[in-house]
């Protein structure tokens, strides 16, 4: 293998598909001269499982649950975008309370996603203490999410026409308590990032993507905002209840990993403000309206602001209950393109943090699902998965076998 890998004074090293710095498979082939990266090739697609094809053979309600599993971290934003699209097609208006609940869950999701990112980024630069701290604080958010939705991730709270669960007073009090304690922690992290010398030595000037390049490569989310582009769907196209909620777009002009870190931490503080506004102003009323079984024919482009950036769903319906085409453009997909530009000319040591700084979500970008059952990993086809879930519920006293499924041929 060495003959191929070492050419003159250049070494070609593969980062991935399996590598400790990558939490999901992706292959970055890096050519090094000494410690400097001279060339980078980005290979993604390991997680592609044809989710969009699967959507074309299921009713839109089944598709909703499939879409929620596009990503493990930002599942709510995908299901929100999808529901919004269907609601727009069929002309439903979501009750105001439901819109507020969607915003609350979305902001909680942003908090937990950014805290997760902060931990991963700290780990990439060998600062494990910050990693442990931020993940400890993330638990507070996950506890609230579990109480509100019954699940730590993949909340399953969205449905076409509203939400499936109401937030009770316990949850609302829990949110305001969590917001207070988390705010102190976040301010501490912000100070830490600003003051600590080793952190700024590892973050400043790394993964530069200037405003012009960010526009050219179509970067979205914190990557674009750290380059000074004030692009946030929550203000550009206020969806759901965001029209009534004041949202401050956080930007920064460092245009490097340091800027992205600062933007993410400030965004979390902003999310806390939004949460406080929401729990103060959440209206009473119903949480869902009935959705029709068939959706009128038409096409719609729906977008939301995911924790990682702009998330676009293209939905086309042909008038039946099965959608003609669903195309999910996750934010990571938009951020890949600037990566090669960011990597080249840097030190090898900065490659992991540069990759991590866009908060890549490979599953999102490739649209995939992996099924883990116990310690053996296997791919179940649709029928077996259904059988498995029926048995799982039977053990717990619920008989799901009586629920009829429409004819849909299985695959993968």
């Amino acid at each position: 293998m060495n003959e191929k890998r070492i050419i003159g004074n250049r070494i070609v090293i593969p980062i991935g598909p399996q590598h400790p710095s990558l939490k999901e498979p992706g292959c970055f082939t890096i050519t090094l001269e000494g410690e400097k990266v001279v060339h980078a090739v980005i290979g993604v697609g390991y997680n592609h499982r044809g989710l969009e094809k699967a959507c074309e053979s299921r009713s839109f309600i089944q598709t909703l649950y499939l879409i929620e599993r596009v990503c493990g971290i930002c599942s709510h934003t995908h299901s929100t975008a999808f529901c919004q699209g269907i609601e727009e097609l069929s002309g439903i208006t979501v009750p105001r309370r439901a819109a507020y609940i969607r915003v609350i869950i979305a902001e909680l999701e942003r908090l937990h996603s950014h805290l997760l990112w902060l931990g991963v980024a700290a780990h990439e630069i060998g600062f494990d203490t910050l990693f442990m701290y931020s993940w400890r604080d993330r638990e507070k958010v996950l506890d609230i999410l579990a109480e509100a939705c019954g699940n730590r991730v993949n909340y399953g709270i969205n449905t076409v026409g509203g939400v499936r669960r109401d937030l009770d007073d316990n949850v609302i009090q829990g949110i305001s308590k969590m917001a207070d304690s988390l705010e102190n922690q976040l301010k501490y992290y912000l100070d830490l990032v600003m003051i600590d010398t080793t952190l700024s030595a590892r973050l400043s000037g790394i993964g530069k993507l200037s405003r012009e390049d960010a526009m050219k490569f179509g970067a979205v989310g914190p990557v674009a905002r750290a380059a000074g582009i004030s692009y946030d769907i929550r203000t550009i196209e206020p969806y759901g209840a965001y029209g009534e909620i004041p949202v401050k777009v956080i930007t920064d002009d460092h245009a490097d990993v340091f800027g992205r870190t600062v933007v993410r931490i400030r965004e979390m503080l902003e999310s806390l403000e939004i949460l406080r506004f929401c729990i103060k102003n959440i209206p009473d009323g119903g949480i869902a309206v009935k959705a029709p079984r068939r959706i009128p024919a038409g096409e719609v482009i729906s977008r939301t602001e995911a924790p990682r950036g702009e998330n676009i769903h293209y939905i086309r319906s042909n008038g039946t209950d099965i959608l003609d085409r669903v195309r999910v453009r996750a934010p990571t997909e938009a951020n890949w393109h600037g990566m090669k530009h960011m990597l080249e000319g840097q030190y090898l040591a900065d490659v992991p943090i540069t990759i991590a700084a866009i908060d890549p979500c490979y599953s999102c970008a490739d649209r995939a699902i992996v099924i883990n059952s116990g310690n053996k990993t296997e791919v179940m086809d649709w029928q077996r998965l259904r059988q498995y879930s029926i048995e799982w519920y039977k053990k717990r006293g619920v008989d799901m076998a009586s629920v009829k499924m429409p004819e849909s041929k299985a695959y993968f």
Binding site: V12, I13, D128, T198, A201
Partner: protein, 312 residues
């Protein structure tokens, strides 16, 4: 003869060093975990890890040089064990000592690092090659300040024997105050020597998997890990013998003091590792050459001046 062998192999020689290294590893991991809001491992974890590794299959890569691959961990451990003989642990003097043994200790200390470099190089893997080059780069960075810091106290004590230095400073404890900068340099350079954060780029997990040792497994890895742990004991003992040589004259009490001093040094190492991010190789080099080496040089100059005016 028998008592010499007991001293070399059992106490305060190899067996004690190995056992104490496991205790220090446990302490290191436990404090590190507590600082990070984790629970941390139970006290027997390092021993369990070691025994488990011994029972695992040893895989030697097809491309690797078999002989070197197997000999290097043993060489590394042997060098550490040999140099430990020259460090006073139990009683006023070390098991063996002669004028100039600190130089021998310092040179034996480079053997584990060189073994690590060669191990990475002969494994012929991509990550291990980069890791071993980084190991060597780091060695060039920390060696000069570390050596100067450890030799500088010898200028005042007019001896280059570890036991001699310990004896001198225990008789004249106030002179130790002159060596405070060297003490700081030795602690920081020692952290680099042990490849611990923030100077752990040679084994940066998230960049090059685990550097030079990435191809190692089973018994050979266990030996390497043990020699790294023993290096920790060695460095802590060396620093405590040279810079913290407070003695009471009572052998048992002195031994207790030795344990306290080495544990205190370890706690410092652990806190340092937990509050900083990993420096890049170029930043590490700049730090050692621009900051630590000048401080060590200044210390040398001061000690030479003091030595000139010294009347003892």
């Amino acid at each position: 003869m028998v008592s010499a062998l007991v001293k070399i192999f059992i106490f305060p020689g190899f067996v004690f060093m190995a056992a104490y290294s496991m205790f220090l590893e446990y302490l290191d991991r436990k404090i590190y975990a507590r600082l990070q809001n984790r629970i941390g491992p139970p006290w027997y974890q390092p021993l369990a890890d070691f025994l488990k590794l011994l029972g695992k299959e040893t895989i030697i890569p097809a491309d690797a040089n078999r002989m070197m691959f197997q000999v290097l961990p043993i060489a590394s451990l042997a060098a550490v064990a040999t140099s430990f003989i020259y460090i006073p642990v139990f009683g006023r003097n070390a098991v063996a000592y002669f004028e100039g043994d600190v130089v021998v200790v310092l040179y034996l200390l480079t053997v584990p690092t060189m073994s690590l470099f060669l191990a990475g190089w002969y494994s012929r893997g991509i990550y291990s090659t980069i890791g071993s080059v980084r190991t060597l780069t780091q060695m060039f960075a920390y060696e000069v300040p570390l050596f100067m810091a450890l030799l500088a106290p010898g200028l005042i004590a007019k001896t280059w024997s570890v036991s001699g230095m310990a004896e001198f400073y225990s008789r004249h404890p106030l002179y130790i105050l002159i060596n405070v900068p060297a003490f700081a340099v030795a602690l920081i350079a020692g952290q680099g020597k042990l490849e611990r954060a923030p100077f752990d780029s040679p084994e940066a997990e998230t960049e090059i998997v685990s550097g030079a040792l990435v191809e190692y497994s089973g018994k050979l890895l266990a030996l390497f890990r043990m020699s790294v742990d023993c290096e920790l004991v060695l460095i802590a003992s060396l620093i405590s013998a040279i810079f913290l040589p407070f003695m009471t004259g009572n052998v048992i009490l002195d031994f207790a003091l030795y344990l306290i001093k080495t544990c205190a040094i370890l706690v410092f190492f652990t806190i340092m590792r937990s509050v900083m991010a990993r420096l890049r190789v170029d930043q590490m080099l700049a730090f050692y050459w621009r900051l630590l080496t000048p401080v060590a040089v200044v210390q040398m100059v001061i000690n030479l001046l003091v030595r000139g005016n010294l009347r003892l």
